[in-house]
């Protein structure tokens, strides 16, 4: 189980990021925010739901709303295949699943090296990202979870 407290992050110099692909873009998220990563993507559709909502599923008795993360961020719909994974996070007392195209490695990022996110990260708006982290051959966009999950009224 991931520990949800954010205080520990502030104290350390590094943070662990779980990375994943949305299309070609490599994104990352603080591993402490992740509840679990599921391979099971069978879910119940919710007709008339917003287009980025893929459905709901049962996670040990809790209803988890699963969204197509790429779609929510403005990319095209994800295609479900064997590599797809559902990253379960807990936000505001609710479980939400983020469907991603595939999972990458867990990396240790030095906080001092995290740069501010530009206006656009790949094809996605910068506001969804807390920052970017340079890898040898790639750039990881670190997701701002709350912003992503925010519902526009």
């Amino acid at each position: 189980m991931a520990d949800q407290s954010s205080d520990s992050i502030l104290e350390n110099r590094t943070m662990e990021l779980s990375t994943f692909y949305l299309g070609k873009a490599l994104c990352g998220m603080d591993i402490l925010k992740i509840q679990e990563i599921n391979k099971d993507i069978k879910m119940t559709e919710v007709p008339q739901s917003p287009d980025y909502v893929m459905g709901i599923l049962n996670l040990r008795g809790q209803i988890v709303t699963t969204i197509d993360l790429g779609k929510k961020l403005g990319l095209s719909s994800s295609e479900l295949d064997d590599n797809s994974r559902n990253i379960i996070v807990n936000s505001k007392d609710e479980y939400i699943g983020l469907l991603v195209d595939s999972i990458g490695d867990v990396i240790k990022a030095e906080k001092s090296k995290i740069e501010q996110a530009p206006a656009n990260v790949g094809e996605m708006q910068g506001k969804y990202f807390d920052g970017v982290y340079k890898l040898e051959d790639n750039l990881v966009g670190i997701l701002n979870l709350e912003e992503v999950l925010n519902i526009e009224e």
């Binding site: 119940t44 008339q48 599923l57 209803i63």
Partner: protein, 1073 residues
Amino acid sequence: MSIQDDETLQMYVEESLEHLADIENDFLAIEEAGANIDEDLVNKVYRAAHSIKGGAGFMGLTKIKDLTHEMENILGKIRSKEMIPNPEIINILLGASDLLQRLINDVDSSNDMDISQQLDALKTISEAPDQEPPSIETLQKTPEIKDDKDMGSGESDLLSPGIKSLAFPDGKFAINVSEDLISEASGDGKSIYIVEIDLIHELQAKEKNLFAFIDDLNNTGSILEARIKEDAPGNLLEDGIPEHLAFLILFASILKPNDINMLFEIDPENIYFLMEDLTLSNLDEAMIEKQQEPDEEIIETQIQTEAIIDQPEVIAPQMVSVEKDTGPTKETSPAAAATVESSLRVHVRLLDSLMNLAGELVLSRNQLLQAISSDDQRVFEVASQRIDMITSELQEAIMLTRMQPIGNVFNKFPRVVRDLARNLGKEIELILEGKEVELDKTIIEAISDPLTHLVRNSVDHGIEEPRIRQKNGKLTTGTVLLKAYHEAGQVIIEISDDGNGIDGRKLADSAIDKGLITKEQATNMTENEKIQLIFMPGFSTAEKLTDVSGRGVGMDVVKTNLDKLGGVVDIKSQVGEGSRFRIKLPLTLAIIPSQIIAVGKERYAIPQVNMEELLRIPADKIKERIEKVGDADVVRLRGNLLPLIRLADVIGIERTFMNHKEEQEDDRRKNIADRRSRQNINIQEDENQSDQTSSLQHLSRNPKDRRYHAASAINIVVVSNGILKYGLIVDQLLDSEEIVVKPLGRNLKHCQGYAGATIMGDGKVALILDVPGLARMAQLTSIEGKSKSTIETQGGAKGHDDLQSLLIFRNSEEEQFSVPLGLVSRIEKIAHNDIEELGSKMVMKYRGETLPLVCINDVADVHPLAKTESHLVIVFNLAGKEIGLLATSPLDAMTLTAKFDDSTLKQPGILGSAIINDHTTLMVDIFGLVEIVNPDWFADREVVKDSGGEASSILYAEDSTFFRNQVKGFMEDDGYKVIEAEDGLIAWDLLEKHSDKISLIVTDIEMPNMDGFDLSAKIKKDDRFSHLPIIALTTLASEEDTAKGKALGIDDYLIKLDREKLRDSIYKHLQSK
């Protein structure tokens, strides 16, 4: 005096407690019935007492035997109608049953308890039924002198025997009191205190009312003795106006030392506690002492899964009490003294299910172990999946065992309200709704106190004394309503009263005085915000004193308790009208019974509360029962048209239908029908079942539906939410199940059609449908003018004055007409040649009978009926006869607001016109039309004359000009005189001006300034006018409104434009005067 062995005794105790379980409410019911004695009910209580008595004799429990013997005597007399149960008698019986319960709960010491007082009270009643039985208070003043108790030391010579002299810890004399009063009080489990209180200083200076203070004392205990402290200063007139008035009060109360000062709010140094040995001690010492006493009534309950698996014989056929020790396991509702209750009643069904799950868990575990040892990946996966599922189910099932109906808490309130009301001299009716709503046990326990507080508050401060109520034109009996219900994953508990409301300004002023808010803050507050001030901590007006219910409660504590549960409370109040407290508990564990249905490949749940009926229309009956109105479907149900919605369409999934599989479905459903009978759901099956098999042979498989393929039957779930009723077409009807409501996440909160989700037995998620939400979704499509349209049933227009359901059609091809859908019986289609002429009238043959036909152009000056090959016939039922109006397509049904203009284009047969869908549409006056064509149809109701021998005058209030003119026209046509008013306020003025002439009032509900409800209430409250019948015309027809109207005194509720019913109703009400 032998007491039988433990086990027998235990059984006796359990049985007796069972008998006593309902006795309180039974007594209250007997009291309610008064002279109208319900023999069966009295018998029930008699038998209960008799059983207890029998066992007691056998067990050697003398006191129990004596007590029940006397109770039996009285009950016997009531049963044989020799005695009428009045409140005094019931009071004593209630007191006796309380004592009985205590005796049984403490059965081992029951023989040592002193029950003389109750016994005497009972004897007095049974021996002299015609006299006013002595009240408990007077009995307290004349204690008997008992000689079997030796009451310790220090008796003064000057005192008569039996009087004890109590001294303060420092030795100074405190007060004299009769020993019996003390033993009586302590026998009752009360704590006894001596309170030294300076009435002037404590009360006057703190603005507390003397009467209220004394009332509080009497409500929370009894004043055993009191005296003025003589050496206190200021006791002579010569010393000037007194500034001190010190009293010593010997007070017995259920309040414990920890709480007693809530009542007095004085320096705790001045409160002394009477110990067992009759010495007085300081309060804090007493508090420590008391805490060390173990609470004997806590009984632990454990469900041991091992025990369940190994010993299936534990389960008895009926309800089973789960126990660890041999303690009584009945769950008594938490009494005011809050004994901790730790046992449960659990349904055997649930235990069975737990047993099964445990068994499955064992199997899966074995499987897992095997997989580990054989290192078989596949078996691993299977086993772990299974364990996953079972764990979820186990979790659910265990949580279900903790669910208790809120009735357990509600049930204690009738008594509380009754007693409190009596003490305060008020008349109060308590209404309880929603007793079956289930909540988790901890929540039920936690809300008991806050609820008690709020109910007492309503009784104490909300409802006024009968005298004041009457002066304000209210019924002398106040109403307190306690209501619980589910709303999408939450449980709502409402406490409302029709008392004098909460005055925000007074609260604000008080808060300013107490320094809780500043004047500036107060000026910026709305009335509502000011009312919320009542929850501020530290807020103590006179409110606080009287609302002690045992555990230190004030409004702020109520709020804190609720916050802890994650609940919210809000207040709505109007000065002079009443208050409503609404508690919302956001439980994810709200359980509701529901009907599971399937559409496409998904399952959905429909809450039972919304279910009306299930219909199944076999393929060959579809043409007959299902009508097409434009693109909308309606079904004929017992003479009325019910709009249909295809669930698949509304939520936008592909239509599919079940064909072959239905064969199997049928069989299942027959079983379901049997099981469902206890839930009052009808399944209608049409007569010829045999046809189905033949028609099924002609199936062809279609992934997409073609409208009403002959081979498919239609499953319709008739749902409603009170206002709205419609049929939902689904693919399959599955079981009815109790489901746990889980709220949907915020991403889905805006979806209109869903009220939550649930997890089915197989672990999959099913959405719970929101009945009004679905209707709204479907309706949205019609208002946008798309091809689909949906309809609301007659009288179901939502809330606006002008929102109507209309049937739109043509006569000639160019002109568009409309008629209120609610008046339409059905729609037929006939070929032109089927129309026959009978004399000058047109008729058609319909089911062996002749149906008269009429055209709009027969009466009105409009273009004639189009000459098409086939016609539509809109059938109405008027004056008990059917008549068909010929019409031409296109035919459509809509619900919309349309402003009807009733001057232009008005003529006989036409009420007015409006623009609908860009066409000028004429509203047909079907009554007028038929009357002109068949004047003899409508029975000539003679006009009811008033006392002056003239036609009666009717006062009619309606703000919409269109309706007002129409309905006024109807009434004037019938021969009455109509005084019209545009609004409730104007109507009232007119009523006062012409009070001698007006015989009846007809009123709309939705009006500005003063609506129909207010007008009716005002009329009924006023002696001058309360005798006048009131008929309300409305487009709102929900049960709530009807009930509200009836409660206000509205005599009849009709739908606008139903001329016939109006005429009949007016006649009826004027006649019966």
